[in-house]
């Protein structure tokens, strides 16, 4: 798999889909398909696929408690244990996972190693990936939450508040959301490092570029709709409310760009369960992170533990009895 192929294949697929949806919505009257049928379908695929994946992971047992310990163990009273990096109780584990999920704790440790003259191997602290990753995910999350304003009437205060906050700087009309700017910067960073850092480029698959392109399209079409080629938001909300109340009704003339946006969102959620994006679920099920480091104080049970062939003491003594006796090592049978 060459770099060109890895990046071009998803690019062409996305481009094709873009033209497809633009063409179809502009020249036919299949808005129903794109506005109602596909969203429901995508949602169904997402829910079922997500559940299926989680269940199939959960079906495999955790035979051993293989915590990756990143801090001082709890041992003697007078040695201060690091309960976040070496969790001892379930509560500690929850805290560790929370730190991992909300703040990307492990990524924060990242270093970048350089071999200099000397030789000197220097391990620089490298926080850019952490920053870009965290910015992308949090922006994504906030943007998602903001979208709930289309699905609720009246809009709950919390959502209004987030919207306000995100709009704090009131740059331009309509104002540029802070998270929109951040997510563009962050995802550009993630994309550029994938393309420019040779190591990352080398390991990247089409499946790594595809979600990035998809997200670019979603974000791009979304911002385009808001700032340049405006669509009728009242009608969008009408559609959203009708969809969520399971009485779908399609208002006329929302604008083709909206369908592009919606289609790519549907694509993302339908693709989600079958892709690496499932790291959303996987991080909670990762045995190195979601288990306590209390192995010696609390026995872990392996459900498929089975008897194995061992070399027993009796067999051992039978073999070595004479030698042991000659050396005056105690034996069980004289």
């Amino acid at each position: 798999m060459t770099f060109i192929m890895s990046i071009m294949l998803p690019f062409i697929i996305i481009l094709f889909l873009l033209l497809l949806v633009l063409g179809v919505v502009s020249y036919t009257h299949l808005e129903n398909v794109f506005g109602i049928f596909i969203p429901y379908l995508a949602l169904a695929i997402f829910l079922m696929g997500f559940l299926y994946r989680i269940l199939s992971w959960a079906k495999s047992p955790v035979p051993f408690r293989i915590t990756t310990v990143c801090g001082q163990e709890k041992s003697l009273d007078w040695i201060k244990a690091n309960r976040l990096e070496s969790p001892f109780t379930t509560l500690d584990v929850i805290k560790r996972l929370a730190l991992e999920v909300l703040l990307f704790r492990s990524l924060f440790r990242n270093t970048n190693t350089e071999l200099n003259e000397g030789p000197k191997l220097i391990h620089w602290s490298a926080k850019w990936l952490w920053l870009a990753g965290l910015t992308f995910h949090w922006s994504f999350f906030i943007i998602l939450t903001r979208h709930l304003r289309f699905f609720t009437e009246p809009v709950p205060f919390a959502i209004q508040f987030i919207d306000k906050l995100d709009n704090l700087f009131e740059i331009g009309v309509p104002a540029l959301y802070l998270t929109d700017a951040l997510i563009v910067a962050a995802i550009t960073h993630l994309f550029l490092r994938r393309v420019l850092v040779p190591k990352i480029r080398y390991v990247s698959l089409p499946a790594d570029y595809f979600p990035l392109f998809l997200l670019f399209c979603i974000i791009g079409s979304g911002m385009f709709m808001r700032h340049i080629y405006k669509v009728d938001l009242i009608k969008v909300k009408e559609l959203a409310l009708s969809l969520i109340s399971f009485r779908p009704a399609l208002p006329e003339g929302i604008g083709v760009l909206f369908y592009v946006h919606l289609f790519f969102v549907c694509l993302l959620i339908a693709y989600f369960p079958f892709s690496k994006l499932m790291h959303l679920g996987g991080v909670f099920l990762s045995p190195t992170r979601n288990l306590a480091n209390n192995n010696r104080s609390k026995r872990h049970i392996n459900p498929w533990n089975y008897p194995v062939k061992v070399h027993t003491y009796e067999e051992y003594e039978d073999e070595f009895r004479e030698k042991m006796k000659a050396a005056e090592i105690p034996v069980d049978k004289e």
Partner: protein, 537 residues
């Protein structure tokens, strides 16, 4: 320095190119270069352990004499393990190829070979998983990151799963905790299904199975060896220590890796244990049957871990001890801490460990009932139970290597440091990104510590060696302390190569040097028989 014969000079090794090749990794076949791979396991060892398809074969030959239905065996083997290990299943699915782990592996840093990036090491297997077990992979093949399972893939696995020391450093940095060591372990199991193993791991396993220890030391030889240490100790300290062996009714069973009583400098640490236990008047025993704490099963298969580990509890039960004390070892402690109780427990025939000297209850070991000697000794020092004269270690300027397994499987960081600080005056930690949970491997663990693989070991040893050199230049460090038997063997050539002048020591060697014994004579030499003070030039 015979071990280093035939290895290129450091200047040569340092010409490392971190730039990946133009050609994609799937199209780059593996190249077995002498000095960078391990010899296959002799068929006799397969036979002793009753493993499938014993045969003589060579990685350098085209034909590996794979069993006829090898493909089916591998695919079924993967399927079985996907259903048994959530770790494996989740790790196959969720990697985002963010590359955070890429430059965390010592083998990548020392070789520049992109397939030594943990993410690619895992992809070697993941690509087969995709092709055989995911819909997209089945239909789209390469486009979905899948690839055909061919004998070339098996060769690649053999090469790269034995260029991983299962150190788990990558797992510390991965945002989802993906543990490439876990994937390596499964990968090695799959290779064993085809009768492919390495001798440096399987021979010790076979010997351990039969004689109780990796080195195949017979019971009477073990006794002779320990008696011989007692003679040396008497010469140096004037005190005769006893050697309790297979003693029924002892309170404590002591288990340590056989490396400790087999070769320098581990032997000095072994003498250290004997001296300490004597001074405490501990009612303990060694066992000739459980004469191995280490477990090369860990480098073979999960089943083999259990088969070799079973001796420890069985022997504790037979001898009727109260609890078990474990010596200075690395991978042994991964097994004791994370596998033993689950595999061979519950140890309900033992008692919750209590130090007979201080009365301290080792609550953290109340189920497994096995205490790490560093926990034990740190507790003794804290309670002022040892009379220590650190000035006897004055010629030492010490740094400490956190062995991968006690670090990332247990988190035992402060206990050894506390002990070291109490037995010597000058202690300097290496840079922060190279110690504790971020410690760099000795590059000779997991069965790779053999001579035929020396170039790869030294390459992988670069990050550790470089950090040692740093404190050597900055603080004049001349001793690298560690609490691992594999380290005591592998760090020696590593230091000779990357930080010449630094010697390797176990911690209880230093403890015993500092320990003032009742009735001892004036000490003139340390346990190595060398003068206590550096002779002034």
């Amino acid at each position: 320095m015979s071990e280093l014969d035939g290895v290129p000079k450091p200047e040569e090794l340092l010409k490392i190119d971190y730039q990946p090749p133009r050609k994609g990794w799937m199209d780059t076949p593996v190249n077995f270069k002498p000095g960078t791979y391990n010899y296959p396991a002799a068929s006799k060892n397969h036979k002793i352990l009753e493993l499938p398809f014993p045969r003589e074969w060579s990685p350098m030959e085209e034909d590996w004499k794979l069993p006829e239905n090898w493909k089916e065996i591998v695919v079924n083997g993967i399927a079985e393990r996907l259903s048994k290990y959530r770790s494996f299943k989740v790790f196959m699915d969720i990697c985002v190829r963010c590359g955070a782990c890429a430059d965390k592996c010592h083998f990548f840093l020392g070789s520049g070979d992109p397939k030594n990036m943990p993410v690619l090491r895992a992809e070697l297997l993941r690509s087969i998983y995709r092709k055989e077990f995911t819909a997209a992979g089945k239909v789209l093949g390469k486009l979905a990151g899948g690839r055909e399972l061919t004998p070339t893939v098996i060769k690649e696995w053999f090469y790269y799963f034995y260029q991983c020391t299962e150190c788990r450093r990558c797992s510390v940095f991965c945002p989802y905790g993906i543990d490439t060591a876990e994937i390596t372990m499964i990968g090695r199991e799959l290779l064993y299904l085809l009768g492919l193993g390495i001798n440096w791991a399987l021979e010790p396993a076979a010997k351990c199975f039969m004689t109780g220890n990796h080195l195949g030391v017979y019971p009477h030889t073990l006794k002779d060896t320990l008696e011989f240490f007692a003679d040396d100790i008497e010469d140096i300290t004037g005190v005769r220590v006893e050697i309790p062996l297979n003693k029924k009714g002892a309170d404590i069973l002591f288990v340590t890796p056989s490396g400790d009583y087999f070769a320098d400098p581990g032997t000095f640490t072994c003498m250290g244990y004997l001296i300490l236990f004597h001074e405490l008047g501990l009612n303990y025993t060694w066992s000739t049957y459980a004469s191995e704490g280490g477990n090369f099963g860990l480098f073979t298969s999960h089943e083999m871990i259990k088969r070799l580990n079973a001796k420890i509890y069985a022997e504790a039960k037979r001898l009727g001890v109260k609890w078990i004390l474990g010596g200075e070892c690395g991978h042994m402690w991964r097994v004791i801490h994370q596998y033993m109780d689950t595999m061979n427990g519950p140890a309900d025939f033992l008692q919750e460990p209590v130090s007979p000297i201080t009365g301290t209850k080792f609550e953290n070991a109340k189920s497994t009932k096995m205490v790490h000697i560093m926990e034990f000794t740190a507790d003794l020092i804290k309670h002022n139970k040892l009379k220590l004269d650190p000035s006897r270690n004055d010629k030492l300027k010490v740094t400490f290597h956190d062995s991968c397994n006690p670090a990332r499987a247990m988190g035992i960081f402060e206990e050894p440091r506390y002990v070291i600080r109490n037995v010597c005056k000058e202690f300097y930690d290496m840079p922060e990104n190279t110690i504790k949970e971020k410690t760099f491997c000795c590059a000779g663990g997991a069965g790779l510590g053999n001579d035929e693989n020396m170039e790869m070991r030294l390459r992988g040893g670069l990050p550790r060696g470089n950090a040692v050199k740093y404190v050597q230049e900055k603080h004049g460090v001349n001793r690298l302390a560690c609490m691992c038997a594999i380290d005591r063997a592998t760090l020696v050539p590593l230091c000779d190569y990357w930080a010449p002048g630094v010697q390797v020591t176990g911690i209880h060697e230093m403890v015993a040097n500092a320990l003032v014994l009742k009735g001892e004579k004036e000490r003139e030499t340390d346990l190595r028989g060398e003068p206590l003070k550096e002779l002034e030039e």
